[in-house]
Symmetry: C2
Subunit: 657 residues, 2 copies
């Protein structure tokens, strides 16, 4: 297809989404586009549904279907579970009325489908059999005013963020039933995970059946049509690309892949719907992080929109830990911004308030919030205590000015003093009954963090549609280096899946790549992180995080090894860390005792932080693996896990004799 | 078996658990017991594992196995997944080292099993095949120094609190492999859910296969041996009893059922291991809520320990909503007390601090805490504001005195005043930039709730091993009538699955049934609930919860209908509520407008409370269904769900034409 078509389809995108053409302009556009389209054009409806808003999703589908009909396309294809919204979680078990509703709306859509254009759309289907789960995860084919055919998903993922098998009955692969005619082409319908079980591509397969293989071998379709709702994660884009390309080439069959876009709480969908030709070449790709009415030709592909740098770069594999976060920063930025924006939009919140400490976490949070919901809707409050340095206050103020967000400075010294004197009264009273009072503890540190959260929640109580923001990052959460009802507290936590070293890189990237350059004061990025809640008696200066924990370069590699390689303490003692390499190069090698101590500290602190993870507010999943509740189920009482297999061997040996 | 045996087995229990016999006393006990035992005696190891503490669980098993060997029993049987602990969640995916460890300890146990006594024990097995999930949920048979046989679970529950299919590969039912010889009997091994799919007993089956049927029909075992880890919930005991009894009778085959005891975070296991004879009669039952080395004879049953009233009474079905919570109160009490106790023990906390308002929630929480961890380990702090009545202060003080818990009264008036004046400064500053300030809002209410939580967390920071307690109840959580960082905040929330009407009944029950009668001041139970955070301008008195929400009698029935009947607003408009019946009897019938308004309010408030549920601290699952995170996955962004199907029909009709 040529440039002319794309200019016109872009126009459709804009006019669909913004609805800013009058009727005669619409007719004009359709007329000029129709003559240019290839004979087998179909539309991929890369669209942002709202979970549970069945009516809203259906009415939006109506609009998009009308365009497809006017253009006399062969078909328009919506993502997996579009009509009910994905994820819908246990709502369908507890409120089956929404499944009834999605069935009613499906029939209403069908009643309006006539003529050439077929509609292929994901929904939730009741399973009426006596045996099996209550529902199927299905894709309906609408034509001639009816629901003509239903294709049921066979492979039901149930790991990480996936819970398909929880709600759905897996269907036998009925390859004949998966074939539908779009114009002159025979399409084989694949539902998301059904396309992720190639026996040659993967070393280990989760399922015993490969629906792609069965459909291709038994039915010889002209192309495969994969309806997906597949989230973006670090390194996943590369895997997906390789796998789809591999399958298209292996079977010499084009693959058309349509994906949801938009974010739903923790899950972010990047769109990037696409076509692979029969040689496995990526020959058409929709935008990332935007809705699109994307017209492609299964036989001839379509246009490749420029990939965002993030996606392009993550096509390169990352097999070892690296501090070079660069390839994933654009994707990280776009994912978090989309997730904040959609969380606010879909829950009805409009404004955010956060504490600005002049530190990295709150600074990057403020930038992302400003870009997601608009600077005018963000309120940053600098809340210095007596420990807060003049530099920190200035950095907070300068950042707010640069971003154009609202800003106040409110000292918490008096709040601290009055709480502290109240605490003296409380503790004196408690001490009459209880022993074991700590000699050194975090009480004073936490008064500061909690006084700040108290102010933020006060603002949220007093001003409409306002949500306080928790600023904790992933490295700190692993260490439990975050205060309950303090910096951990908020309605949303944008950075909970971003490690500290990545956060530094992201800050630099933002300064270079946002329209407004260098919004983040250089001092924020240059200084070493610290909570500014306590003084280090050894230095007389505010305690640095790395003094309280361990070097972030080391910590982040431990996290990376735990999440990606499932390593034990023993495994890690044997591996060379990047931090060790750097120290060696500097002539100050890390001794094994120190390394062992840090590793033990990591696992000890992680174990005692599990209860904090359980009460973290919602946050976006960004990394390849996360500690997000939507993905990771970790019983808090499992606090005695032995993360080092070397330590049980003596007792075992004794008992074996 | 006669009384003499039971006296002796009780002694074993005590001595196993408390380890208070010397070696010669042990020998004496064994000798006197051995002559009395039937020839086919086996021990059911009703035991409380710690998730992830593989070494601890294994060493405990060693002790119990030794007793079985000394007594020359045919077998000793441990619960499902005993060795690794259930639930273990995603730890086995992220830290496969603990699965390795459970395999190593299994072999160490096996190395010590010789002679007559076989050991049957649950563990997690690696799946080494290329296809399928990483693990099996398996039961090992240990004999002759080896792992003789492994039986793999076939039916993998994945609803509510269950996540089996998430981690385990379902195994084909290999009926021959499920048969093992214990002494002269052929036992057919069933793993928990494998026994919950009878095609005749259930109207709808989750799975297509019934392992019980296959094992009985193909192998004719002398008895079925079900290894379980099955939690207690309202009404589940009755279902379990009916189902096991039904199957034993249907197949004319005794069923021996061993269950885990103890609590793990949200999940409580009641034990109550048992034997059904071939006529379906319950003929032996172990204690509830206590570990027990329970000796039974598969052919002759054993003794029925008296059922706790709670369990006995819940054998009666409850098909309509009732305010008669009586039948479930003992079970509720025992479940929550065990869950608190085990949560503290397994996480290492020893003491609890909570605010005592003189209201029902904090009062009942204090009683349960005192019974779970000891009165000396509980600290109640009365924290009056200017709204708090003298009665409330007295009630709090009297309760503490009755229970013998530690007590202080600390006024928060000055904290309130200083925070309030700080807020004035903050809001004046915010108002310069932002409009839409609320005219009436909860800011002042919440200052009080959050000041109290600030004090509780301060105590937890300052005194070792101390956890603050959140006191919110189920009815309030549904309504979002709870303050973030206030009464919702804590390390554990004992009442989060207890509705308000049940809580009243529980308070009366505690006064009647605890060793110390009437510990709860009558005034606490007699007064109508209110948070004492705001004044009702209409009455000039503190605002009552029912004035802010709706009558609890009505509210709790809505919750019951949502959780148990999955009803819509339309369904509920057609049903007669108990509250309506009572009003009618009083001559003041409820008008439909009021009913409709309450129902809409319920669903509106529920939808906007989802984000609060997501950050609730851990709490016990008690009811038939709950909003506990371990069981209920509710994407927060699904805020536009239509809970009333009547409202979309007009638009649908239009589109169908």
């Amino acid at each position: 297809m040529d440039e002319k078509i794309y200019t016109l389809t872009d126009k459709i995108d804009n006019d669909l989404i913004n609805n800013n053409l009058n009727e005669s302009e619409k007719d004009e556009l359709v007329k000029s586009l129709k003559v240019l389209l290839p004979s087998d054009a179909i539309a991929l409806a890369q669209i942002n549904p709202v979970s549970g808003d069945v009516k809203g999703n259906a009415l939006k589908a109506f609009e998009w279907i009308k365009w497809a009909q006017k253009l006399e396309l062969d078909a328009i294809v919506f993502p997996e579970m579009y009509l009910i919204g994905y994820p819908i979680g246990d709502f369908i078990d507890r409120f089956p009325v929404i499944v009834e509703e999605n069935w009613e709306w499906l029939r209403a859509l069908a009643a309006n489908v006539h003529g050439k254009t077929k509609v292929i759309i994901g929904f939730v289907e009741f399973n009426k059999a006596k045996k099996g789960k209550k529902y199927f995860n299905s894709v309906a084919v609408l034509a001639d005013g009816q629901v003509k055919n239903v294709v049921r998903k066979s492979l039901l993922p149930n790991y990480a963020e996936f819970n398909d098998y929880r709600h759905f009955e897996p269907a036998e692969v009925d390859s004949k039933n998966r074939i539908i005619q779009t114009g002159g082409n025979k399409a084989g319908i694949i539902v998301c995970e059904d396309g992720w079980n190639d026996f040659d591509f993967f070393d280990k397969n989760l399922y015993g059946v490969d629906p792609v293989k069965e459909v291709v071998n038994e039915q010889q379709p002209d192309y495969l049509l994969n309806c997906s709702s597949s989230i973006t994660r670090a390194k996943k884009e590369q895997l997906k690309h390789n796998m789809l390309s591999f399958a298209a080439k292996k079977y010499a069959t084009p693959i058309v892949y349509v994906n949801q876009v938009g974010s739903n709480e923790c899950l972010s969908f990047e769109g990037a719907s696409r076509v692979y030709d029969k040689n496995g070449n990526l020959c058409a790709m929709a935008k990332s992080y935007a809705e699109q009415f994307f017209i492609v030709s299964p036989s001839n592909g379509g246009k490749i929109y420029p990939l965002p740098n993030g996606l392009e770069k993550t096509l390169n594999s990352q097999k070892a830990f690296t501090l070079d976060h660069e390839p994933d920063l654009e994707r990280t930025y776009l994912t978090i911004v989309q997730t904040i924006r959609d969380y606010f939009k879909k829950t009805g919140f409009k404004r955010a308030v956060l504490g600005l400490s002049g530190g990295l976490d709150s600074t990057v949070s403020a930038v992302l919030l400003a870009d997601a919901i608009g600077a005018e809707n963000v309120f940053g409050i600098s809340m210095p205590s007596k420990i807060t340095s003049a530099e920190s206050k200035n950095d907070a103020r300068e950042l707010a000015r640069n971003l154009g967000i609202n800003f106040s400075e409110i000292s918490i010294k008096d709040m601290y003093d009055s709480t502290r004197s109240k605490f003296d009264e409380v503790f004196t009273s408690v001490e009459k009954h209880w022993d074991c009072r700590y000699k050194e503890c975090f009480t004073n540190d936490n008064i500061q963090a909690r006084s700040r959260a108290l102010i933020l929640w006060g603002v949220a109580n007093e001003f409409q549609s306002c949500l306080p923001i928790a600023t904790s990052d992933k490295s700190e959460l692993y260490m439990g280096y975050a205060t309950i009802n303090g910096d951990m507290s908020g309605g949303f936590a944008p950075l909970a899946d971003v490690s500290k070293t990545k956060l530094f890189a992201l800050a630099r990237w933002l300064n270079k790549n946002r329209e407004q350059k260098n919004a983040i004061p250089e001092a924020v990025i240059a200084k070493r992180p610290g909570a500014e809640l306590a003084i280090n008696p050894k230095t007389g200066k505010p305690l640095l995080a790395e003094e309280a924990l361990m070097p972030y370069e080391f910590l982040d590699e431990v996290i990376w090894r735990v999440e990606n390689l499932q390593q034990t303490i023993g495994d890690m003692m044997q591996a060379e860390f990047l931090h060790e390499k750097h120290l060696k190069e500097n002539g100050t090698p890390l001794c094994r005792e120190q390394k062992s101590e840090w590793l033990k500290k990591f696992f000890r602190r992680m174990s005692t932080s599990l209860y904090k993870w359980a009460i973290m507010p919602p946050s976006p999943i960004v990394d390849a693996r996360s500690i997000n509740k939507a993905e990771y189920r970790h019983p808090i009482i499992a606090s005695k896990i032995n993360y080092d297999k070397t330590t049980y061997e003596a007792k075992l040996k004794e008992l074996r004799q």
